[in-house]
Amino acid sequence: MTPQLAVFFVLAALAVLGALNLIIQRHPIHSALSLIVVMIALAGLYLLMGSEFVAAVQIIVYGGAIMVLFVFVIMLLNAGVEERTNISKLAGIAGIPLAVALLGFLAAAIARSNESAQAGFESSTLANTKEISTMLFKDFVYPFELTSFLILVAILGAIVLAQREKS
């Protein structure tokens, strides 16, 4: 059990527990906090794999901006606890073992595949940030500029949608 494997299991367990907590909790703010935990765990996994820039961007954008947006909306809309549902118990009793079995098959298929490569800390010639930025500004410059346009459209859309009606 190398240290990296141990760290991987800790972070993976944190991510899975966060996702389970998102399903189990009944108040949306607690689900949002669990999702933040999942995102931070995933950022840790990216760091473990050597993608430090993606890890930092994940925390800054996902954890620090998108989830803040979710938390604001939950606070402003005063979302309360979810009501009890009348979903059938049979779905739970039959569904959960089937889902676990499907997941087991999927995991076995993945593990038995030819992916013997190790997603490790293999250092490339350039630093991670430099490599990503070179590729982003040379090969992918057109999609990059398009995303800035996309964000502008999203800002305009959000402003128009959330306006009070002029009555």
Binding site: M49, V57, I66, A79, E82, I110, A117, A154, G157, A162
Partner: protein
């Protein structure tokens, strides 16, 4: 060193949990959060493959996925605010008719 398949299995588990949350929860904001969870699972798979093959294309694509998720969250939450204002409820089971 951690084998790539471990990351892929974790990604599959997170994606599955995202689907479960999407199907079984009734608060529209929680459903939206499960979409973000699914996108994160996909990001993890992208980065795992990118590091296994020592190419940065996967990580560049992850940046684009994050940007698109941000734009989608902004607009989607705007729509949710409108829905909450018009129907006074965040329960998707109440939004099953076009008529108010």
């Amino acid at each position: 060193m951690v084998p790539t398949s471990y990351y892929l299995i974790l990604s599959a588990v997170l994606f599955g949990l995202g689907v479960v949350a999407f199907v079984f929860k009734r608060n529209v904001i929680t459903i939206f959060m499960s979409i973000e969870l699914m996108l994160n699972a996909v990001n993890l798979a992208f980065v795992a493959f990118s590091q296994a093959r020592h190419q940065s294309d996967g990580q560049v694509f992850v940046l684009f996925v994050i940007v698109v998720a941000a734009a989608e969250a902004a607009v989607g939450l705007g729509i949710i605010i409108l829905m909450a204002r018009n129907r006074q409820s965040l329960n998707v089971e109440r939004v099953d008719l076009l008529k108010l």
